[in-house]
Subunit: 326 residues, 2 copies
């Protein structure tokens, strides 16, 4: 299977690494909005092209993995490139998924391509676990926790505060809340009871630290509904200790069965990831395999992880997966 990568940031580089780990997958080309000469990739012998030349390569690529941002890139890019390629994206603005699905589905069907949107871990693997667990335990409660991990949006919000030079924000699930859910206690949890937020801030010289801390802690939407801790550190410390891109989280379904609902069950799925973009990329490559196969069976239109039978993700045959994984 020949893969193209559109957009060579953390996610695109993660796809490149994931391709290397899968013997049946080949990286064919990288497309960039920057000057191609300025983009150095890791894989020897693979060309970097301008995104403007993408159409010329449409017959060389089985699946194009679009590594753009959900806010402005993907709503425009995914329908556009579905005209030339089978595509896959990691669109993660939950509220806009129905509209994005409709746009991509139209483009895919008009051009006989298959497109998979909102792939990764949330949306993605977490969504799958919500679906499976809800189908199995129709009477119950869902819980999703994120972290410990860096939230880009919250880190950006910190950096917009006056007097802040740089900053990183960690979202951390509250251990006692996890335990309560894990024990099947079905707690009603407020926002504050589910996650705490920890901020590492580099202040400008002479800035009013107390004022910065107040402003962060009281910021509506981002911090005011949480117990937030603010640590002031040096630029060197931030670089040394907080440049990681770890993430993860937990999906629970806690439900009951029995004639009188007398038996409790807890399903838990969790991820602990050193690199958020590399894990997401690994999910994308597995699903690229799946949609390439489905396309070769004549399937087109827009899909999500819900529509893909698990066997399509594996490089192994049906006989092999039944013998070794069932």
């Amino acid at each position: 299977m020949r893969i193209g990568i559109l957009g060579y940031g953390n996610l695109g580089r993660g796809v490149e690494c994931a391709v290397k780990q899968n013997d049946d997958v080949e990286l064919k080309a990288v497309f960039t909005r920057r000057n191609p000469a300025d983009v150095k990739i890791l894989t020897p012998g693979v060309n970097v092209y301008s995104v403007n030349d993408v159409e010329a390569h449409k017959d060389e690529i089985d699946v194009l993995i679009i590594c753009g941002g959900s806010a402005t890139d993907l709503p425009e890019m995914t329908p556009k490139y579905t005209k030339y390629f089978n595509v896959i994206d990691s669109f993660d603005t939950h509220a806009n998924i129905p509209q994005h699905f409709a746009n991509v589905d139209k483009a895919a069907k008009e051009n006989g391509h298959i497109a998979l949107i909102s792939c990764g871990w949330d949306p993605g693997m977490f969504s799958l676990n919500r679906l499976y667990a809800n189908a199995i335990l129709p009477e119950g409660n869902d819980y999703t926790f994120w972290g410990k991990g860096v939230s880009q949006g919250h880190s950006d919000a910190i950096r917009r505060v006056e007097g802040v030079k740089d900053g990183k924000q960690y979202t951390i699930p509250v251990e006692s809340a996890l335990e309560s859910v894990r024990n099947g206690e079905n707690p009603e949890l407020t926002t504050r009871q589910k996650h705490t937020r920890e901020c590492f801030v580099v202040a400008e010289e002479g800035a009013d630290l107390a004022k910065i801390e107040e402003e962060i802690k009281n910021m509506p939407n981002y911090f005011s509904d949480y117990d937030t801790t603010v640590h002031f550190i040096t630029e060197e410390e931030l670089k040394k200790n907080h440049s990681g891109i770890q993430h993860g989280g937990f999906v629970f379904r806690s439900g009951v069965t029995g004639w009188n609902k007398e038996n409790k069950h807890v399903i838990e799925y969790s991820l602990k990831l050193d690199s958020n973009p590399e894990f997401t990329s690994s999910v994308l490559v597995a699903y690229a395999r799946a949609i390439n196969r489905l396309h070769s069976e004549g399937v087109n239109g827009c899909k999500t992880v819900f529509d893909i039978a698990p066997a399509y993700l594996s490089p192994l045959s049906g006989d092999e997966i039944r013998a070794h994984l069932l």
Copy 2:
């Protein structure tokens, strides 16, 4: 969707309870090898028939859930009843799955039916998690732990020991092994390091307790490779404290990504179940919905959980699952 249950033990009764929790599913009939007059079920207005009369009801039932044992019942029953019905079973003898699949596939294709085998939690949900995690992280290690839960086979083995009147055996995962795997340490674990076995034994009056304990602890295959604890208790205590049918377990995939495999990731899926048969039954009913839909789309032959796109399990529409679960 109209469901038939074949075999009314713990599993069949669990299916009956699960049907009650799903508004789009109706219990149509229960078939038994016993005298139907002796079988009292929970659902008002549903008839119990002899298994010998099953063919007469073939047009009243969309999916027949076969609740038999894997050792001798299912290898014979599933291919047999696939002639008349779409069927689903929980065949769990891992080593014989390829043969069972071939037999059922032949019968299903000859008769235009769809059959799903080896459904439940292991094989079933655990298998799915092994497959997804292996596809996402091709370089890594798999770990499966079972328990805490009652092992029927080991409880039976205890009861065969001379001087034992009754007994129950719990399989318990070793906490330090779980923690090591969870931390991404990729330990090499022996059988003894993964699980311990705890036995609750009711001895015959005057029996030699030391001899019983020795015999249990040294029993090859069942106990000799494990750290085993034996507790002697009264019949009343056994009945009062050890008649539960709890179970559960953990599936881990611990893998690496990155150009130089520098990033670690741990995927964990776990189940904590008050009732092993009721949870299995709940999985069976969700998959019965899936195969009924697939059959209405013209699909036939033998399938496993690997072949079923997740969306088919949910009573919700594609629009609904994209809006609420993705």
